[in-house]
Amino acid sequence: MKENSYHLHDPTWCRGCGIYGIFAALKKAAASLQIPPERMVIVTGIGCHGRLNNYFNAYGFHGLHGRVLPVAAGVKLANSSLAVLAVSGDGDAYSIGVGHFIHANRRNVNMICIVVDNRVYGLTQGQTSPTSQKGYVSVSSPFGSKETPLDGPRLAIVSGGTFVARGFSGIPEHLTALIIEGMTHNGFSLIEVLSPCVTHNKINTYKWFKEHIVNLDDDTNFSAKNKKKALEVLSDQSKIPIGLLYHEERPSFDDLSLPSDTPIALTKLDVDEKKLDAIMKDFM
């Protein structure tokens, strides 16, 4: 599989949009892992990020705003042989969908979730999102946002997340590496991607992100095995760490719950009279 096996159409996001970088990284990661397109399912949310399906050659599910994670878990649990990728946005995952986000981290189904964090509601024309910084002025907060911004990776870690990372769409190689790592992790992998919205967010631009990120690879003291450390680097509000923040090996929900190694979707469906008869005895 080459990279362009995954390229279905040229995207029509605004010129310069950060999601282009994510699209490229995803294709690279898939190619590097040699995942056949038909074994990949991409579940997307509603938002600019949700258009990914239209450009990426893989099975796609474009459902409801905020509900990517339950859908993706359903896809994966039903057929554990698939590579399942949920693509969400800062509004999709952290506003309307944050309940599912918390529980996805607790549940630890073996799939990957990419949150395209442009710190704004792109598709609905620029409203303030949960990651917009305090005081952010937009059509929906003309006098400045009054709420403390939310930090997805931090929330993921305290919710029991087993693989928590952050990338930046402006550094595609780094992002590609993270995605590859996340896809090979056994359990729920979160990769939040800082991704400028060139049309609606005039604050969190490429330049701004570049000035604020710190790459954890440069911090030799840091270890992604250490939850305390991870929470520590995430508590410094002035800097945005990128890289693998936390990683833990823990049996996935799939390991713990699925009754067998045969994917449910691949078991023959018939009326097993013998088994059912035995069960009916309970009611006699």
Binding site: P70, G99, K275, F283
Partner: protein, 581 residues
Amino acid sequence: MISDIQVMIAGYAGDGVLFTGNVLGKILKRQGWEVVTYRDFPSNIRGEAMNYTIRASLNKIYSRGDYIDVLMAFNCDAILRHIKSVGENGVILCEGSVTESVRLSPKKGRTFHKFPMRELAKKNFRSEIFKNTILLGGLCYILDLDMKIIREVLSEVFLKRKGKEIVEKNIQALRLGCDEAEKIIKEEERHSLEERPDKDRLFLSGDEAIALGALAAGCRFFAAYPICPATEIWQWLLKHIHKFNGLVVQTEDEIAAINMALGAAYSGVRAMTSTSGPGASLMMEGFSLAGMAEIPIVVAHVQRVGPSTGLPTRPEQSDLNQWVFGAHGDFPRIVLSPGTIEECFYFMADAFNLAEKYQCPVILLTEQNYGQNFYTVEKFDLSRVSIDRGMLLSQDELLKIEDYKRYALTENGISPRVVPSMANGIHMVEGNEHDEKGYRDEDEEIRIKMMNKRMTKLNIAAKDVIPPKLWGKEESDIGIIGFGSTICPIREAMDQLEEKGISTKYLQVRTLWPFSAAEVEEFMSSCNTVFVVENNYSGQLSRLIQGQGVECSRVHKINKYSGHTFRPVEIAESMLGVLEQ
């Protein structure tokens, strides 16, 4: 010889009423009787009044009866509440603790006995907990039950969970109750039950029948959130589905439940969820997605009293409107309404087959009184269950297709379906309007074609869904129409009317959408008088019928919305009121 008996056990929450009633029901079933139970429980923690009715008969019965033959009361208050329902020769046994004075003398024929279960339990076993088995012992004497059967049932109940010693202690308690009863009950107050063979019969609730039906129908993924009175479905399934390589997931809420089920269904697994009132409202968005994206999914909805939190443990039929008309936009949907416990089981296979054949959401709409009450039924016939996956292609079939289109425009609106992992089948499942391949498209022509395609499926399905069923005397010109569990009191009421020389017939609507308009119209035109009987305020079925353009001027509505099912006599009397005018 007694052929029909109704026992009520009444007390407060925490008294073990449910447990005692269930055991009694099982015993009566094993004696070969037809059994129907009715639970009247508040949504509560402790300390509120509740009661449980067990009716048994040698003949086919459908619902709780009108009068109580034996009332076993844990407190005097319960007698006050239920005395008016006690039949003429009824026997009342009451815990009646010494400090309480029984403030009423039973009316003519009815006899009252003090039966100090709690006291006996404490004195003999140093634990109140045995009061329930003592009560059963009392009933055992009154009803002349078979000790062997009781022993059997008690060991089934206690052996695994509590061990041999507890079984023995309970049998002692049972004997004690029996002996005590013998001291106080006169021979003529006993209702000796004949024994009949109990062969190949089941005793189960509608929720259990639905779960069993789901399992038989190939449901292999169930995602749900706890809610009365639907939780029993998946809590039962949970114990068995792994034997079929299936999975139940308790989700964080109903929204996750329906979406997770949608994901699993899309992956090619027969998937469902279950819910009630408020949970159903939360599922509306996912319901609409299932319609648009053409994902086969089944929702079992066990109705409780609404609106809002309403009365969570009581029956009503007020969520028909929601599933037939709720959720935004026009999309195809199928709503089935089982009228018997058997149908709860068999309709599950229909539900999944219809969902896959028409690639749309299918709702199985039932009610709390089925969901949580127990009935004797013939063992389910598994040869009647078959699995039809509709236009689900195999990998081989898919490979032969040149340019696979998930939403191909076909004459009947049904497009061949494939699932992820299949080579040559890559497509998108989309909640936005889309083209044949599933990609978002806003073109006017496409939109019109796609709407037509989706809605056409429903027209085809209309000919394939479960037709209404006719009961009673076809030649009668007095007709009754209803759906779901009201069939129980209706059939009993029909028998009561028949006894008075009034023949009636009943059309049981079994598919609420697409609506069986032609059959209903035909039925109505064969009647002079039509009664639409519903357990709700507004007459949702009546309006549904009317909305189909069926002439409804001769319709009389009989509605009950008190949080209880009809007693048969209520229906019979309402009908007589109209007929005698």
